[in-house]
């Protein structure tokens, strides 16, 4: 009964391939996120969806396309993978209370290695 789950946990692929990472939360949260943690351990937001609508889209190459089929799922599709995409990708979710500290719940991460 994991709160925020991601699959796969590890992903090794060749440059130029297209891959997807799936995320599901069973917390009933309205908002979901994708973060990238690079080799310098810098955890940076990529996208945020609220009730299936995109609300935050940081400066991310358009090779990255999030898709939210329903508010419990936020998948990340990456086209034409590059070496620099190698990182750990974290999915997260939170209640959208509109006020107060935004306590986000994170998945275990997906370590993507592009060869």
């Amino acid at each position: 009964d994991t709160a925020v789950s991601q699959t796969p946990k590890y992903l090794v692929t060749q440059m130029g391939n297209d891959k997807s990472i799936k995320c599901e939360q069973n917390l009933g949260h309205d908002t979901m996120y994708w973060y990238k943690q690079d080799s310098k351990k810098f955890l940076k937001i990529m996208f945020s969806y609220n009730n299936k609508e995109l609300i935050i889209n940081e400066t991310v190459p358009n090779r990255f396309s999030p898709k939210s089929p329903d508010k419990a799922h936020l998948n990340l599709h990456i086209n034409s993978l590059e070496l620099g995409d190698s990182a750990v990708y974290f999915c997260a979710s939170s209640l959208n209370r509109g006020q107060g500290a935004d306590e986000q719940f994170f998945g275990p991460g997906t370590r993507l290695t592009v060869l």
Binding site: Y33, K41, I45, D102, E103, P108
Partner: protein, 111 residues
């Protein structure tokens, strides 16, 4: 340009002593600050937060102090326990749902 900085990549403390983790930020518009704890191969988990209108928040062994004039916050853990060994991330919130994270400090509590 990193808006949240944790300048100490690591910290070692004896069990039972106090651990102090520091964080600096640049944006005076942040309205909440949060600390997350991360074990290897797991995602970060929320630990404690503080509103920008307060200067202290305490939860059990964990206390967060905020110095707005210095744009500095710290997390105090006392007494430190071996199970506290993890990477601690400081995060600052700008509006709803937008967190900026620091690069983390690895805390090792020595038994």
């Amino acid at each position: 340009d990193q808006q949240v900085k944790q300048n100490s990549p690591s910290l070692s403390v004896q069990e039972g002593r106090i651990s102090i983790l520091n964080c600096d930020y640049t944006n005076s518009m942040f309205d909440y600050f949060l600390w997350y704890k991360k074990y290897p191969a797991e995602g970060p988990t929320f630990l404690i937060s503080i509103s920008s209108i307060k200067d202290k928040n305490e939860d059990g062994r964990f206390t967060v102090f905020l110095n707005k004039s210095a744009k500095h916050l710290s997390l105090h853990i006392v007494p430190s326990q071996p199970g506290d060994s993890a990477v601690y991330f400081c995060a600052a919130q700008a509006g709803a749902n937008n967190l900026f994270f620091g690069t983390g400090t690895r805390l090792t509590v020595i038994p």
